[in-house]
């Protein structure tokens, strides 16, 4: 019981911040001196024209790429010094889905679960149902439409209980129902004190939660 309380206290203290980030690609400065700080329940939306460095920024934030200058801190600790701890708490959905076409929807989620620290209280078929993929449990991903594949990729967010979501254009290919589902998921994540960073052109209508904007 005591452990659970400390765990909850830890959760409340989550913070995600970037200090003076600089990114140079092909001798072009995409951004410099970029910084922000997000606390529990906050959402950061990154906007900007194509080629302005949104994906580069997200890849730097999730630890896939190194910034040319600056540091990213998760709970005040540099993510590159505490990689494993950071990856346990972070989910990244890139603009490519990260699903295998040869595998069925369920098999794709199973492997994602094996790679992550999973939330055992939810079953994978339940997650597929929530994402509107209940009938496609055993359908190979190559036979799914692009919107359904996007939903399958986003389903990865629900198999874990990560505190930080980094999403690159999460609404791409989604229909109205899928978009609403995604907004609901982000709202619920924020309500549960999770932090979300997303790059999208579409307005994210999430009431009652603070949305910070960065224009690249």
């Amino acid at each position: 019981m005591e452990m659970r309380e400390t765990e909850q206290q830890d959760r409340v203290l989550n913070s995600f911040s970037a200090n003076a980030l600089t990114c140079i690609r092909n001798d072009v400065v995409l951004f410099s001196g970029l910084g922000f700080r997000l606390d529990c329940g906050e959402v950061l939306q990154i906007q900007g024209p194509n080629g302005s460095g949104k994906t580069s920024l997200l890849r730097i934030l999730c630890g896939l790429a190194l910034p040319d200058d600056g540091a990213i801190l998760w709970n005040e600790k540099n993510i590159h010094d505490h990689r494993q701890d950071y990856f346990k708490e972070m989910s990244y959905i890139g603009h490519v889905n990260g699903i295998k076409m040869e595998l069925t929807a369920l098999e794709n989620l199973t492997i994602a679960g094996a790679l992550a620290v999973t939330n055992q209280s939810i079953s994978l078929p339940d997650i597929l149902e929530k994402m509107g993929l209940a009938e496609h449990e055993n359908t190979p991903a190559r036979k799914l439409s692009s919107g359904q594949r996007r939903r399958l990729a986003l389903a990865r967010l629900l198999i874990t209980d990560t505190r930080l979501w980094i999403l690159d254009e999460p609404l791409t290919s989604l229909d109205d129902y899928g978009r609403q589902l995604m907004r609901d998921m982000i709202t619920a994540h924020a309500a549960g004190n999770g932090i979300t960073v997303l790059a999208t052109h579409d307005p994210v209508d999430i009431q009652r939660h603070k949305i910070t904007m960065i224009n690249l």
């Binding site: 346990k88 295998k100 595998l103 098999e107 492997i111 094996a114 790679l115 620290v117 939330n119 055992q120």
Partner: protein, 229 residues
């Protein structure tokens, strides 16, 4: 809410199973190297003629060179599709050590490409008049040698993943690295055919395998981080 941290072996088995399932559903990729292996050996037999003495002399070299060429065919795919569909990013962002995933992928690659090749080599050995006494040594050299091909191949496959024209570049880079395996394997089978001792060569092959198994997964892991970073 109960959180569950998978053990290292769970991750290893999950990735191994994933790659095996994908490999088995991609039959053509599985069979192409095997067919290539058969064709190359058959070409030699056709070119040299059906003379037992000639074929017997070149048999170990022909089988091993054909096996090397066939195994390079499938290397490019080791990380390529994972890069294209974003799976590689997810591997790198997993809280589990990347090296576990890399080891599972190398193991899957060996099971999918080398294991069928070993079975085929035994049949082809008979076709090129390899003496009965050399069949077992051929099997041993393949068992010790082919894992080295997958291990060393993985390092270069990781280094060249995502490069334009990586397929041919990979073949050019990897074949010189296979020379030690080729030399010791062919010498083993040659000696066995002549009735000489083969333990020395087998020990060398074993040592190469241990060295590759120790260093290649580490080098592959670093290469992947460099390529994606």
């Amino acid at each position: 809410m109960q959180m569950f941290h998978n053990s290292t072996s769970t991750v290893l088995i999950a990735v191994l199973k994933r790659d095996l399932v994908i490999g088995l559903r991609h039959r053509s990729e599985l069979f192409n190297p095997l067919v290539f292996f058969f064709i190359v050996v058959t070409m030699f037999v056709l070119a040299l003629g059906p003379y037992e003495t000639t074929l017997r002399q070149v048999a170990p070299a022909v089988i091993w060179v054909a096996a090397l060429l066939a195994s390079t065919l499938s290397l490019d795919m080791m990380f390529h599709s994972d890069l294209d569909d974003g799976s590689l990013e997810q591997f790198l962002l997993s809280p589990h050590p990347l090296i576990i995933i890399v080891v599972a992928k190398i193991l899957a690659h060996w099971l999918l490409t080398a294991a069928p090749l070993i079975v085929a080599a035994l049949f082809l050995g008979l076709m090129v008049y390899l003496p009965q006494t050399a069949i077992m040594p051929l099997l041993l050299t393949l068992l010790l040698g082919t894992p080295v091909l997958s291990l060393v191949g993985a390092v270069l496959a990781a280094l060249t993943v995502g490069l334009r024209g990586s397929g041919i570049l990979l073949t050019l880079l990897i074949l010189p690295l296979y020379i030690p395996v080729l030399i010791f394997s062919v010498a083993t089978v040659d000696n066995a055919a002549k009735g000489l001792a083969i333990t020395g060569e087998l020990y060398f092959l074993g040592a190469i395998l241990v060295l590759a198994a120790t260093l290649a997964p580490l080098a592959t892991t670093s290469s992947l981080r460099i390529r994606l970073g």
